[in-house]
Amino acid sequence: MLEGAVLLAALAAGDPKAGEAVYSRCLACHSLERHRTGPKHCGLFGRKAGSAPGFEYSAAMKRSRLVWNEKALDIFLADPMKTVPGTTMTYAGVEHPKERADLIAYLKKESQCPAS
């Protein structure tokens, strides 16, 4: 029971350094600073899904009513096409919970928009 709690805490914490390696999988379509095939991740946390200015989202994402926080990202990243049917993020997902926690920790750390 205690071991389970420790594991859950570790998963919840996430390691941003390990998450950077996981994020390298995202670089075909995403970057922190620029819209590409996928939207930029700068300003991601707290953003309503489908709302970053200047990016053309799928209708499915725009009407998803998701707001990007740890929980929403954990669910979405596990299986994007199941979570938001019709999304153009046609990716099988990050299956392992620890990798998702690390990725989310990295995104949380790095997705602050630079002051303009």
Binding site: R25, C26, L27, S31, M81
Partner: protein, 190 residues
């Protein structure tokens, strides 16, 4: 194993690389073209989902073509690296053509190249910077295709995507080698 960058004659290096990659690419093209009737016959929800996957891949391929163009025109690449960058761009063009053709066969509309792409050109100061940037895109492409392969309803498309994945992985390895890094850092890609 001799690196492409250790072959003194660029033409020989290119021939050596083409000799291998042509096998992979023709496999994808043949699978898609030969499957025309099967593809045309499939319709409905699963075909629509396949079109969406193909269009995301096409969007990334079109961006890669533009990225290699930026690299080629940067003036930072020297032969034989410049020749290889041009060759890799050619592969991405072939991927894009096959993807667009397949989308049409499935009754979809292929996405077009954007009128403008944003690349981190301000951080590209020398050949190594360009190679590192290209390597990050190719690694991302490997992951993207790996994430797409199991999603296709049509297994011929999974096979074709895996074939493109193989080509992108070779690009990534060659670029890493050119940077003096271990070209194949692990037994698996993710």
């Amino acid at each position: 194993m001799t690196s492409f960058f250790q072959i003194q004659n660029p033409a020989a290096a290119r021939r050596a690389f083409l000799g291998r990659s042509a096998v992979v690419l023709s496999g994808a093209a043949v699978a898609l073209l030969a499957g025309r009737d099967v593809l045309a016959a499939k319709s409905g929800k699963s075909a629509a989902a396949d079109v969406r996957i193909l269009n995301t891949a096409l969007g990334a391929e079109l961006e890669a073509i533009a990225a290699y163009q930026v690299g080629a025109e940067s003036g930072l690449l020297e032969k034989p690296v410049l020749s290889l960058a041009s060759q890799f761009q050619g592969h991405h063009k072939e991927h894009a053509d096959v993807l667009a053709g397949t989308i049409r066969k499935l009754g979809g509309k292929p996405v077009s190249a954007r009128s403008k792409y944003e690349f981190p050109v301000e951080s590209l100061k020398n050949q190594a910077d360009v190679l590192r940037f290209a390597a990050s895109l190719e690694k991302g492409a490997v992951s993207a295709y790996l994430g797409a392969v199991p999603l296709f309803a049509n297994r011929d498309l999974s096979k074709a995507a895996a074939s493109i994945l193989g080509d992108e992985a070779m690009h990534w390895a060659v670029l890493r080698n050119a940077l003096g890094e271990n070209p194949v850092p692990s037994a698996f890609v993710s």
